[in-house]
Structures are given as structure tokens and as C-alpha cells.
């Protein structure tokens, strides 16, 4: 009879731990940035300076090289605006508008950023004295150069968006706008959205809330969103609600628009997933068949 050696539980535990460590170390290697990759981080990603016309202020932008390759980076500013209700960013100056990018004076236009190090670049924002109070927008870009020559070479560019306020009397205003919701839906994921407009001359930070409750008053979904809204634009704020299979729900939407809370009328939505409809049809068909069969049997 062959005798198998008894394996002590402690040895088994040790082997399992060693395997787990080996896998985790392998995973660490797999997730690290390869040597030729270009990695750039900037902070802040957006800022909201507020100055009087004629005033200036010193700010900083930090550039972190979180890759394994040192590189030279170029800094410059460009105008910033948005297109459409989905706020697609655009970096070209709109006709007839002030070029706020020219208000940014960077202390350095090129920097050398060693691997795993941070370089802080001061810049001055100076608003001309004759500037009309209101909102103005620019972006400071930090752009890397490709690490070496190849067929396709990539420059990485990240931007710090400046939501600039030129202080003084400004016109504010806006409204919340409802977007259509279906009365009945079979969608497993339903888009819930609203739009907010800015009819004034200054941007504002809106806080929008979208919530869904069932017939018993229980919260089944809540979403809270903070978004900048630029003057003379409409911004869509949307989210996706994973719907239950069946039910009747009330959707509430509200937002703080230019400092005032505005709400949309609540909407009722009936949710029926396709499989529920199929099941209901099958059950009804079975009941109908049984009734017919029962009548024939009585005869």
C-alpha cells in the first residue's frame, strides 16, 4: 500500500501565500508604465480666478512626470469655449470675443521634467483695465514631445481650464429645461437628463439632482452633479439609470441655476422589461387555455 506523506496545513498556507505574492508582484510589474511611454499630469485641471479689471495675480501650475522617461514640455495658453449642449471643448477664438488667453503670462514656455519629478511653473493672470465685467475663458496647455522617432509619434497635451471672472456688475440668469422622458419603457438602462441655460454674462457652477422613487416612496436612484455653465450656452447634464424589471416610478429633477433652485415637474415612468411581457403573455395564454379546456370538459 502506498503511503502519501501528510502535508501540514501550515505548509499549505505558506505555499498559498507565496503564490499570491508571486501573482501580485507579477501584476505590479504588468501595471507599471513601460520605459518609452510618455506620462504627464498637471494640477490644477481647472481653476476659477476672479479679479478686478486692471488687476493681476500670480498663480502656479504643477507638471508631474509620472513616467520613466524625462522630457521637455511646452507651455502655452489658448482660448477656450464649448460647442453644443454636450459642451464639446474648442480651443479657437470665437469671432467678436475677447482673447482671454492673452491675459496669461507664463514664467516659462519650455521646461525640462525629469522622470518621477514635479516642476511648478508660476504664471500671472492680468485682466486689462478696460475689460467689461463678466466671464472669460482660456486654457493653459502643457505639451510633451515624442520620446523618439517612429512612424507615428505622439505629443501628449493636457489643459488647465481657466474660468475667469472680471469683477464688477454682471447680468446673471438662466433656467432649467426639461428633456423628454418616456411614459412607458422597456429599456434596461434609461437616460435621465436635464438642461440648464445661462442667459447672463458670467459662468456659474450648477448643482443638479436627479432622483427616482417607486410607488412606495423608496429611493431607487439618486444622482448629484456639479457642472460649470458658460454664458449664453445651454448645457445638458445626463446620467443612466439601470431600471428594475417592472414598476412605476417618479422622476424628479432640479438644479441650482445662477444661485436659485429650480425644479422640473415630476414625471411618472412605467418600466416593463421584455421578459416580463413575454412571461405575462405566456401566463395569460395558459389561463385562457385552461378556461377553454374546462368549458369543453363540462360539456
Amino acid at each position: 500500500m502506498r503511503v502519501f506523506p501528510r502535508v501540514r496545513p501550515v505548509a499549505l498556507l505558506g505555499a498559498a501565500l507565496a503564490a499570491a505574492v508571486a501573482v501580485s508582484v507579477g501584476s505590479v510589474h504588468a501595471s507599471s508604465i513601460p520605459p518609452d511611454n510618455t506620462a504627464i499630469t498637471i494640477s490644477p485641471a481647472s481653476s476659477a480666478p476672479s479679479l478686478k479689471p486692471g488687476g493681476s495675480q500670480l498663480y502656479n501650475i504643477s507638471v508631474l512626470n509620472n513616467g520613466n522617461t524625462s522630457y521637455n514640455a511646452r507651455l502655452y495658453s489658448e482660448p477656450y469655449n464649448v460647442v453644443g449642449i454636450n459642451y464639446d471643448p474648442s480651443f479657437s477664438q470665437l469671432p467678436g470675443t475677447v482673447n482671454a488667453a492673452s491675459w496669461v503670462k507664463l514664467s516659462k514656455q519650455t521646461i525640462f521634467v525629469p522622470a518621477h519629478e514635479t516642476v511648478v511653473v508660476p504664471y500671472t493672470l492680468a485682466i486689462p483695465a478696460n475689460t467689461t465685467p463678466g466671464g472669460y475663458y482660456a486654457v493653459i496647455f502643457v505639451e510633451t514631445k515624442p520620446p523618439k522617432v517612429s512612424n507615428v509619434q505622439a505629443q501628449n497635451r493636457v489643459g488647465d481650464i481657466l474660468y475667469i471672472t472680471a469683477q464688477g456688475p454682471v447680468r446673471t440668469g438662466g433656467k432649467i429645461i426639461g428633456t423628454p422622458l418616456p411614459h412607458i419603457t422597456s429599456a434596461t438602462n434609461l437616460e435621465l437628463s436635464l438642461e440648464v441655460s445661462d442667459t447672463g454674462s458670467l459662468h456659474y457652477l450648477t448643482k443638479a439632482n436627479i432622483s427616482v422613487i417607486n410607488l412606495f416612496g423608496k429611493d431607487v436612484f439618486t444622482g448629484s452633479f456639479e457642472r460649470y455653465v458658460l454664458p449664453q450656452t445651454v448645457r445638458k447634464i445626463s446620467t443612466s439609470w439601470k431600471t428594475p424589471s417592472l414598476g412605476i416610478f417618479k422622476v424628479s429633477r432640479q438644479a441650482i441655476v445662477a444661485g436659485h433652485l429650480q425644479s422640473l415637474p415630476d414625471k411618472w415612468v412605467v418600466v416593463i422589461h421584455p421578459w416580463v411581457i413575454v412571461l405575462a403573455v405566456i401566463i395569460l395564454a395558459l389561463i385562457f387555455s385552461l378556461l377553454i379546456l374546462g368549458r369543453r370538459t363540462k360539456r
Binding site: 511611454n37 504627464i40 505629443q155 493636457v158
Partner: protein, 208 residues
Amino acid sequence: MKNIKVPRLSASTWRYYRLSVGIATLGVFVALPAVAEAQTQNTTVQSVIGSTISLTTNGTVSLNATPTGSGVQTIGSDTVSVSTNDSAGYTLKLAESGASQNMVSGANTIAPSTGTQASPVAETASSWGYRVDGVGGFGAGPTTSASNQAIGTTTFAAVPATASPSTLKTTATTASNDATTVWYGLAASTSVPTGTYTNTVTYTATGN
């Protein structure tokens, strides 16, 4: 051993001592909370989390090709990863870095695809372009790497000019190493002179 004499205390003296001890004990209990309260200090620990945005790419994509008379196609990819703590998410765009959309080697060029992100087209010999599965008119893919294969039907678009970048991705929440695979394809026949052809593109990531 010498005896120690303990003096006898009168009843009134004992009453005095008991009263004193009682008052002293009461005083300790009254004083202790005051002393304990005096030792308590509140400290507010505060941390300001700054907004950041990060962009990581491969840096280069090699599309080496050994052309034939009928043409061959090489397809490679770039992994573009974005991280941001902006709760509104980010937008990732692609555009040419320079004025030319051609791949250039000295005086020789390889023209860009005639397709656009909305209406990409299959490559023909001596053209190059990009695609992102599931974006625009590119279709779901999946696209795979290839080297010197026969020119296929996978559609590509020209990398757009600097002033009109294409949006590759828009998100609506914070992101941690959110990756987008950008494929590049080059089709070349023997009409393309030998050389190292290059083009520089710019990826732009900004918060929403």
C-alpha cells in the same frame, strides 16, 4: 521593641477629621472634571484635494511595412490612458501636430486616408489613417494588429487637421487610467520609395 503610643482622639476631633476627609474627597471629584476638561483640545484635520488630469500614451507606434506590387497593410496601436478627479469627466481629442496630414520621409510622402471619423473608408495602397473601435463610423471591430498582410476592409480615417480635432472619447465622471486604444494603419505598395516615414499627432485631454 519599643511600643508606639497612638494618641487617643476625642469624638469631636474624629468628627472634624471625617468632615475634612469628606470635603476633600468631594473636592477631588468636583475638581477632576475641570482638570480633565482643561486637558481636552480639538484639532481639525484638513486636506485639500487639488484637481488633476493625467495623460499617458505609448509615445510612438511603429508601422513598418515591406511592400509588394499589390500592396500590404500594417496595423499597430497606441494605448491612451487618462486619469482625472474632475467629477464631470474628461474629453480626449486627436489631431495633427503640424500642418501636413501626410507621412513624410524627406521629399516623399504617404497620403492620409480619404475617410473621416464619421465616414471612414478602407485603405488603399499608399495611404495611412487611424481608427477607434466603437467610435463614429468605425464600427465595433475588434481591430487586431497586423504586419505586411494583404490590404483588408477595415476602415480608417485621416488624422484631422490641427484646427479641427476629432473627439475620441467623452466621459461624465472621474477616471483612473481609463484606456482608449487608437489603431493606426498603413498600406503601401512598391510605388512608395523606401525610407522612414513619420507623422506627429497630438492627443489632448481636458476636464469637462
